[in-house]
Structure formats: C-alpha cells, structure tokens
C-alpha cells in the first residue's frame, strides 16, 4: 500500500508542477502587457510610462519568463505565495482566511445531498417502476437539469424577498448557511440519487444476491449486508470527488450569495486582473483537489478488498 501512496504523491507533485506551468503561462496568454494592467489597477486611469516601468521593475516582470517562473515556484515551495498585486496583502493568508467558509458550505451541502440521495436512490431501486421510483427518476432528472444558479435565484426570490425569512447574503451565523446549502445540496443530491439508484439496480442483478437468497437469508440482511455495501462503494467515491470539487469553492453559488469562500475570491481576483492572486488561488485549489482525490482512492481501497495496491500490476 505504501509504495502506491508514494507513487501517487509523486504523481501529484508532477500534476501540481504541470498546474503551476499552466497557470503561470495563462498569464502571458492574456491580452495586454501585465505590467500595464497591474499599474492600471493600482494607480487608476491616468498613469504615466514611468509608473508602468516602476511596476515592471518592482514585480520583476522585466526578467525573462523562465526566471520569473523559477523565482515564483521557489517561493511557492517555501509556502510563500507572494503578495497580491493589487492589495499587496499576503495571498496565502487571504486564502486560508477564506477556506473555512468554503469548507463549511461544502460539508453542509455534501451532507444534505447524501441524506437525501442515498435513501431515495436505494428505495427507488428496490421498488423499481413503482410510483415512487418514477417520481424519483423524474425529480432527479429535473434536479440535474436545473442550473444551480437559477435555483439559487429562485430560493432568494421565495425565501428572502417574497417571504423574508432568510438572509440572501452575508456570512457568520447559521441562518446565512441555509439558502446556499439548499441550492448546492439539492442539485448535488439529484446527481447522487441517479448514481445510487443505477448502482443499486446493478448490484441487485448480481448472482451473489440470488445465492444469498438461496441460502435462506432474510431480505433485510440481504439488503444491508450484501446489496448496500456493494452498491454504496461507487457512491462514496463519487461523494469524495464532489467534495474535491466543492473545496474548489462552489464558485457560482458563492457569487450569488456573496459567500466569502475561495470560489468568490477567485472570481473577484480574475475580474480585478490580480494575476498573483489568481495563480495562488488556482494552485491552492488544485493541491486541495489532488489531495482529496488521493484520499478518495485510499478510502476506496480500504472499503473494497479487491483493490490491492501492493501488487504491482
């Protein structure tokens, strides 16, 4: 198991290296001269050539690209993501300050989606083609098709405006968490319900379920000890992946509810053309996402005995 993890960590390093290359070069793909754009953002419209040159020197934009990259990368290795080009406060601090908000929203939404999706998926698979099943299939299809930003607006319109029960923005107490979690959680629940249902149907067709019935085991223990354990494996892996996506900040939902999470930070930094902050955010999210997918793989190996990583196959 351990040399598998070592291999995976090495792989993650390669991927992160690739990610840094992509984000760094993306800056040069963007139209316009970075120094000028930064000077513009810092000193406003009427700026002189000297100011641009001063920014170029200060930000080290004059040295060749690869030198810039190496210095930046070297800093990153020392966990120094550098300073925000516009507000010049430390990027890593800014990111870590925003992380709890994103984590809160991510965990709440994931939890909500699982407590809706798993029972719904399992029940609709058990009672296939019944009214409940058709209702489940239809609503989950609807849920997958409704864009979560439109759902968010609808919930704001209903709960915040029409009958002002819940705040539509702001962060701090529990009230604020309800609408964003409802928006994110229900749309995730729709996808997870479909996955749980099809995974459950697949398992119920397997030979070992017939064999369990042939041994005279009662339906309840067949369901819980045999069917559920096999059916939930792919669902848990998927949930782990979804968590990875959410840690990247549910960008849109955070924007609608002006939720101070990583996603919103990234969008604002893009609009503000704050390249350093964009790079920092993207890099952090990529690291978070890679680590969480590694965690998901390890969890899968722990749960599913068939996957053994010590064998080099």
């Amino acid at each position: 198991m351990w040399n598998y993890i070592a291999k995976r960590l090495l792989l993650i390093f390669v991927v992160i290296f690739g990610v840094t290359l992509v984000t760094f070069s993306a800056m040069y793909l963007a139209p316009g001269d970075p120094a000028e754009v930064i000077a513009l953002a810092r000193y406003g419209q009427d700026l002189s050539a000297e100011q641009i040159e001063a920014v170029r020197a200060a930000e080290g934009l004059d040295s060749p690209v690869h030198i810039q990259y190496l210095t930046w990368f070297e800093h990153v290795l020392r966990l120094d993501f550098g300073k925000s080009v516009i507000s010049s406060d430390d990027i890593l601090e800014e990111i870590l300050f925003r992380l709890p908000a994103t984590a809160e929203l991510a965990l709440a939404s994931l939890f909500l989606s699982l407590i809706i999706a798993i029972p719904a998926g399992v029940l609709s698979a058990l009672k296939q083609n019944s009214l409940l099943d058709n209702a489940c299939v239809f609503t989950s299809l609807l849920g997958v098709s409704i864009p979560n930003f439109w759902l968010g607006l609808f919930l704001i319109w209903l709960f915040a405006l029409k009958l002002p029960l819940l705040p539509s923005y702001g962060y701090g107490n529990l009230e604020n968490l309800v609408l964003p979690t409802l928006t994110l959680g229900t749309s995730m629940a729709a996808v997870t319900t479909r996955l749980t249902r099809s995974s459950m149907l697949e398992v119920l067709k397997q030979e070992y379920i017939v064999a369990a019935r042939a041994r005279g085991l009662d339906e309840r223990s067949i369901l819980f000890r045999h069917a559920l354990k096999n059916a939930l494996l792919p669902v848990l892996t998927f949930a782990g992946m979804q968590l990875g996506y959410l840690l990247g900040g549910a960008v849109i939902v955070e924007t609608i509810f002006s939720w101070p999470g990583l996603g919103k930070l990234l969008v604002d930094s893009i609009f503000a053309r704050d390249f350093a902050l964009v790079q920092g955010c993207v890099l952090f999210i990529a690291i978070l996402f890679s680590l969480s997918s590694l965690a998901v793989d390890i969890l899968y190996a722990v749960l599913d005995p068939r996957i053994r990583y010590d064998r080099h196959d």
């Binding site: 064999a211 019935r213 042939a214 041994r215 005279g216 223990s221 005995p305 068939r306």
Partner: protein, 326 residues
C-alpha cells in the same frame, strides 16, 4: 415415500420474443440419500429446473405443477416458510462460484452468516462452525478472513459446497459444479461432493453436462433435451446401454467412443418442433415421430424413455432394425 417428487412441472418465462417454455411436463423423483444426475447440454433448461425447485427464478416466471418435498408442496408454501426451508432443508451450489460470492465480505463471514441466520447462534459459535465447515471441504480454516478474489476457481467451488452443506440439508442441488475446471480439480471436486453427501446422508441432485462426472458418482440419471426429460434410469445401465437416441448421441460424441457427431443444434423454446423434439436430428426419426409427442414409456429395469421406437420392444437396448435408417 421419496424425498422429492416433481409432478408435471411446467416452467415458462414471459419474454419480448414470446413465451419461453423452459421446462415442460417434468416428472422426477429423488429418494433419501440418493445421487441423481440431471444430464443435458447448455440451454436445455436443467439450471432452470434446479432453481425452480427452490423458487429462485426471476419475476417473469410462470410455474405450474407440484414439487413435493417430504410430502409438502413447495409451490404452495408461503414466502417465509420457503425462506426457512432454503439452506436448511435444501441446499444449492450455484453455477459460477466467482460470481456467486459477495466480493466485499470474507468467506468466513459469509459462512458464519448462514449459521447466525438459521440457527440464531452467537457470533463466536457461528465462526467456530464456519471454521469446521471450511476444514470439512478441505480449506485451511485460517484463511477464513480472506476474500473471494484471493481464491482459485477450484477453491471457490469448495467454499460454495461448504455454504450449500453448512446446515446439513436433506437435499443438495449442485448446478454444474465442475464446469470450467481442469481435469485434476474437476476430479477433486467430484470426489469431495459425493464423499460429503454420503457422509451427511443427504441426497444430491447433480446438474451437469459432463458425462464422466455423472457416470462416476451418480446412482440414477435423467437426461434432459429442450426442456423435457427424455430418459431416466439407473446410471450404470444408462451409460452402458443407452435407450433414447439423444442419450446414445451424447455418449457416442465422447472422444473415447469415437467422437461421432450428430448434426444440428438444440431447438428454440419459443416454438419447439412438433412431435418428438429430437426428431430433426434423430438418426431413427420416422414420420410418426414428427406428429406424435411421445410420452415417457416405462420399460424394464426401472428405465423410462420418451421415444416411439420403444413402444413395440419394451426393452431399452433393442432398437427395431427397420427403424435404423442411417
């Protein structure tokens, strides 16, 4: 009174292509402690018959007839009564062991579960019994924490036998226990099953297409073709001088008997051929064979053959010479 007596059993499935008549008008008996081999090629309906006995077939099935087990008609039992009977009084070893075991549960747990569910004994005692059973089928009990994918085909088959015989049922149904195994493993599994069945004095219904295994361990044999029983009788006699032309063809097809081939293939179950279902491929077929559906004739030596040729002779060996065409 026989342990199991099947009377006029009809099993058919409602499918997109019409009604698939998998078993038609089956009469079969198994006495206490007897080994009956049900022989037939792939797709002749023998697995359906095995699963029908324990009512394990899919929902789109229609079963008519009676299955008397120690006098009780299994088709009349409630779901719960049937559930208690499965595993306890009738055990089954399903066809492909690699698929019939839960991949994420250790074999020890799956075995102990049977004891906990039926005999309600505690966790510790169930595990003890599971260990014993594994030892009985030749698996080192210390491996009970391992998972199905860590065992070879032959070993998995032993686990299935352990599961089937765990509660010492009066009847064990073994569906193709030797399929896909190489010669040595096949021999070991055949000996294991017949040995254990004798030791536990339970009856065995061996469903197989493998004539050597059937000849080696069966007391009586029944041959099935296209959903019908075409011949039954004492195993030794059937193998030494077969009656029904299909049984003859099966034996002549073995390499030791010259590998003589009979053309054509098994008929469709949706609209089977008229009269005797084997007539299109039968060397002795006559016009009447195409029209009349032969019934199971009682012949000498407890032999039954479903073939018009034996109406006159009454003896299984003699085929009337005028009938032998080719």
């Amino acid at each position: 009174m026989s342990l199991l007596s099947v009377e006029a059993l009809n099993v058919s499935f409602r499918t997109g292509r019409g009604l698939v008549k998998a078993n038609e008008g089956i009469f079969l008996e198994i006495k206490e402690g007897e080994v009956l081999a049900l022989i037939g090629e792939t797709g002749c309906g023998k697995t359906t018959f095995g699963k029908a006995l324990l009512r394990l077939l899919s929902k789109n099935v229609m079963i008519k007839g009676r299955i008397l087990f120690r006098g009780r008609d299994l088709l009349a039992l409630s779901r719960n009564e049937m559930r208690q009977l499965r595993g306890k009084e009738i055990g089954i070893v399903l066809q492909n062991p690699s698929l019939a075991l839960n991949p994420v549960l250790s074999i020890g747990d799956q075995l102990a579960e049977v004891y906990r569910s039926h005999e309600g004994c505690g966790k510790k005692e169930a595990e003890k019994k599971a260990g014993e059973m594994l030892g009985l089928v030749g698996i080192d009990p210390s491996r009970k924490a391992e998972y199905p994918h860590q065992f070879s085909g032959g070993m998995l088959q032993r686990v299935m036998v352990a599961l089937g015989l765990a509660l010492r049922p009066a009847l064990l149904i073994a569906d193709e226990p030797t399929r896909g195994l190489d010669l040595q493993t096949k021999q070991q599994i055949a000996d294991l099953i017949s040995g254990l069945v004798k030791q536990e004095a339970s009856a065995l219904l061996l469903i197989t297409h493998d004539l050597e295994v059937a000849e080696q361990i069966a007391d009586r044999a029944a041959v099935m073709y296209a959903g019908e029983i075409v011949e039954t009788g004492k195993a030794r006699e059937i193998f030494s001088n077969p009656g029904h032309p299909y049984t003859r063809a099966l034996l002549e097809a073995l390499p030791e008997n010259g590998l003589r081939a009979v053309p054509g293939q098994g008929p469709s179950f949706v609209n089977p051929p008229s009269g005797c279902r084997f007539h299109p491929r039968c060397a002795f077929g006559t016009e009447s064979c195409q029209k009349i559906r032969p019934r199971l004739l009682e012949l000498e030596g407890e032999r039954q053959v479903r073939c018009l040729l034996f109406e006159s002779t009454g003896k299984p060996e003699e085929i009337p010479d005028d009938a032998a065409k080719s």
